[in-house]
């Protein structure tokens, strides 16, 4: 589904042009939680506008923490952190940020569509448009029959899909997704991967940061893969995936695909 739709600007180059602005810039960033836990240390990371960067790494290595730092939900204990040359606060205020938390994080007192419309509501978009957009993304994640359901009436994977729909209802400039597809079956996952690539492909400036435990997924989706190791959390390697888009499903069977998978797995095993 939708594979043909990906006839986009991104197909014109292997990687976002080197002229693209630096969107995210972490320099020697360290995060020590109040209980003394060193979550990440010496993190250096530059992400250009328009990239699709996946983060892989063992459980507890600090992937979510990096997302929290980038969005400004937590402050670094040391180091320097710039989002588009400014601080996370300013980036957030620009209103083009969107994200999927590791937990679905739905309002239990609102039904599915109200939960999905939330970002639009907060932006003050007209009601009718809110609804249209929400219905569109709910269809995308395969939940169009569940508008009126309450979160507690959904299965685990369905909740996560509502959360994904909510992140896509706005037109994000920077999209952060923390294991969005972890609770989904392979078929749903692949459909959503295509949808995500298609949305990303349409806007050459859209940047996606993506956490996954699935190396195939990381390689299939990303322009770059940040491989992390733990204790303390560090970025061990930043691996380029120099394959042009659209990548059809045959890509998964190519030699370059398996080569990169092997490289990522190798980096992970260190």
């Amino acid at each position: 589904m939708g594979e043909k739709k990906i006839e986009t600007k991104h197909s014109d180059f292997l990687l976002p042009s080197s002229a693209a602005r630096t969107l995210v810039n972490l320099q020697q960033v360290e995060k020590i939680y109040p209980n003394g836990m060193i979550a990440v240390q010496d993190v250096n990371l530059k992400i250009k506008e328009g990239e699709f960067v996946s983060f892989v790494g063992p459980s507890g290595c600090g992937k979510s923490t990096i997302f929290r730092l980038i969005t400004g939900l937590t402050e670094p204990s040391a180091g320097r952190l710039e989002i588009l040359g400014g601080n996370p606060e300013a980036a957030r205020k620009s209103g083009r940020l969107s994200f999927v938390f590791q937990d679905a994080t739905l309002m239990p007192w609102c039904n599915v569509i109200d939960n999905v419309m939330l970002p639009l509501k907060l932006q003050g978009i007209p009601k009718i448009q809110q609804k249209e957009e929400a219905e569109r993304v709910l269809e995308l994640v395969g939940l169009k029959d569940y508008h009126k359901s309450l979160p507690r009436q959904l299965s685990g994977g369905m909740k996560m899909r509502v959360s994904i729909a909510r992140s896509l209802v706005v037109n994000p400039g920077l999209l952060l997704m923390d294991e969005p597809f972890g609770a989904l079956d392979e078929i749903t996952r692949q459909t959503l991967q295509q949808e995500l690539l298609s949305i990303w492909g349409k806007d050459p400036k859209m940047t996606v940061l993506f956490v996954t435990h699935n190396v195939f997924e990381a390689v299939y989706l990303s322009t770059k893969i940040a491989v992390m190791t733990s204790s303390p959390g560090k970025i061990a390697e930043l691996i380029d995936v120099p394959i042009p888009y659209p990548r059809d499903s045959d890509f998964r069977t190519t030699a370059s695909f398996s080569e990169i998978v092997t490289r990522v797995n190798g980096a992970l095993k260190q």
Binding site: T71, L73, R92, K93, G95, L97, S98, F99, F101, D103, T105, M107, P108, W109, L118, P119, K121, L122, Q123, L150, P151, R152, V170
Partner: protein, 283 residues
């Protein structure tokens, strides 16, 4: 696993389940409470009769009932007066309690600076400020309502405030990242999230408002209006009509219980769909 377990087959059709449910509801919600009430009343009656306790000390239910019956119209009038006073006082305390909680919750500094005065309002003995209340609001119903408010607003304020501070951190992050302003954060997240606590405040506050109205009648007099239960209780006490005194006291309680049931009903409707404390069916 234990293999000696008797074979039990669960084979239930929807219909029979529903019937069973209705029956159970009836049993637990109506039948047993009523039974408990009857037992309670009967015991009360017979123990007093047996011990031969005089009615001026602790009247028997029959004494109370007949006293209530004899003074029927008066009693009803008193109850109505007190009911009106307490409803207004209660509404005031809900409105002012919740809105000040919202105000206080909007800033830590405001909270720290103003909260102590809310506690003062709650703990200052009403008699101490009664004259000022009467001077500002006139004797009678206005002052009574103000006193009712003073007595019942703190639980609203305190509970609502705790509720507003209990917002789920993940949802708060969500709103923060989507640039919610204070207003949106308050209305769309913090207040709905605080509802279970607000309901807790309502339950305490609505019963306190009955007490408040009665105390109010003591302190601010009955003004030009009809005396309520506070007045009836004082005069029954003076005239040593203990059974009627109890009738008045129990009427106050019934008033409190009715308020409570109304609040309970509203809370069920408000929360039933999502909050554990009011969810009935299997989740």
């Amino acid at each position: 696993m234990a293999s000696d377990v008797a074979k039990t087959i669960i084979l239930s059709k929807k219909g029979s389940l529903r019937k069973q449910f209705l029956y159970k509801t009836f049993r637990s919600e109506i039948f047993l409470p009523v039974l408990a009430f009857l037992v309670f009343i009967t015991l009360w009656q017979f123990i007093l009769q047996l011990l031969n306790i005089p009615s001026y000390l602790l009247p028997k239910p029959t004494d109370i009932a007949s006293a209530a019956f004899e003074n029927g119209t008066n009693l009803i009038e008193s109850v109505l007066t007190t009911a009106i006073e307490s409803i207004f006082g209660f509404l005031l305390s809900v409105i002012i309690g919740v809105s000040s909680a919202v105000l206080l919750a909007s800033s830590r500094i405001i909270e720290k600076s103003i909260y102590p005065y809310a506690i003062i309002l709650q703990t200052i003995p009403i008699v101490a400020i009664a004259p000022i209340i009467v001077i500002w609001f006139g004797a009678g119903i206005n002052s009574i309502i103000v006193i009712t408010f003073l007595i019942s607003f703190f639980p609203m304020l305190s509970n609502t405030l705790i509720g507003l501070h209990s917002t789920d951190q993940n949802l708060k992050n969500l709103f923060y990242l989507y640039n919610a302003n204070r207003w949106q954060l308050m209305w769309r997240l913090r207040i709905p999230g605080a509802l279970p606590y607000i309901v807790g405040g309502l339950k305490v506050s609505c019963t306190l408002s009955v007490i408040g109205a009665i105390v109010g009648e003591y302190i601010a007099g009955i003004g030009g209006s009809q005396g309520g239960l506070g007045y009836a209780i004082t005069s029954a006490a003076m005239r040593l009509e203990t059974p009627y005194l109890f009738a008045c006291g129990l009427s106050a309680s019934l008033l409190g219980i009715s308020f409570f049931l109304v609040v309970n009903y509203i809370s069920k409707r408000l929360l039933s769909s999502w909050h554990e404390s009011e969810m009935k069916t299997e989740n």
